[in-house]
């Protein structure tokens, strides 16, 4: 079956521009996560959606970052006024609604963002 898909796979933008990154989770997965992967920083949690509950935004690094999930499926991560330090790979993952850390997270291939 189809896995988690992300688009675009690569995005080059100029400092100060806004970008939108898209994630299509596995069908039936109500939990969705966004992570940022930077060199030497591992997987940095950004935001978590679970069904109709209020998202956990505790990992968003600044108010330039926001995310939404429409219809409980597709999610969009938006970065406003991009900075060079935003350059990273942005990963999306989804999991079944078991509500536990033991639910396996299935990751997409990521979007590599480069801010010039």
């Amino acid at each position: 079956g189809a896995g988690v898909s992300q688009s675009p796979s690569n995005k080059v933008t100029e400092k100060g521009k806004d970008v939108e990154l898209r994630c299509d989770p596995i069908s039936g997965h109500t939990a969705l996560y966004w992570y940022r992967q930077s060199l030497g920083q591992g997987l940095e949690f950004l935001i978590y959606f679970q069904g109709n509950s209020a998202p956990d935004k505790s990992g968003l690094p600044s108010d330039r970052f926001s995310a939404e999930r429409t219809g409980g499926s597709v999610s969009t991560l938006t970065i406003q006024r991009t900075q060079q330090e935003d350059s990273a790979v942005y990963l999306c993952a989804s999991s079944l609604p078991g509500g536990s850390s033991t639910d396996t997270q299935y990751f997409g291939p990521g979007t590599r963002l480069t801010v010039l």
Partner: protein, 112 residues
């Protein structure tokens, strides 16, 4: 605050050797410890996981060793192969809480 500390950040092992990656955690509420494997250009994928009620779990050439008193766990890759070359992440989670906390990752290179 780094809740899961992973070392080393890079590791070079000869083919046939044993690769060992170590992780330590601080939060005693953690009760689930997965390892993820990431190949270049791909997202991480679950490799193996352990609960603290056992001290070891083995799946093929991959073994997790868990030391609850020391709050440490490690991944051992026996008979390492060039195809094992990837980045490995340890993680920790706690009951009733869906998020997991990832370590910084270890880039493993297995040379022929």
């Amino acid at each position: 605050q780094q809740q899961v500390k992973q070392s080393p950040q890079s590791l070079i092992v000869q083919k046939g050797g044993i690769s060992i990656i170590n992780c330590a955690y601080e939060n005693t509420a953690f009760d689930y410890f997965p390892w993820y494997q990431q190949f270049p250009g791909k997202g991480p994928a679950l490799l193996i996981a352990i609960r603290p009620d056992v001290s070891e779990k083995k799946e093929g050439r991959f073994t997790i060793s868990f030391n609850k008193s020391a709050k440490q766990f490690s991944l051992h890759i026996m008979d390492s192969q060039p195809g094992d070359s990837a980045t490995y992440f340890c993680a920790a989670g706690k009951a009733g809480y869906q998020k997991v906390t990832f370590g910084i990752g270890t880039k493993l290179q297995v040379i022929p």
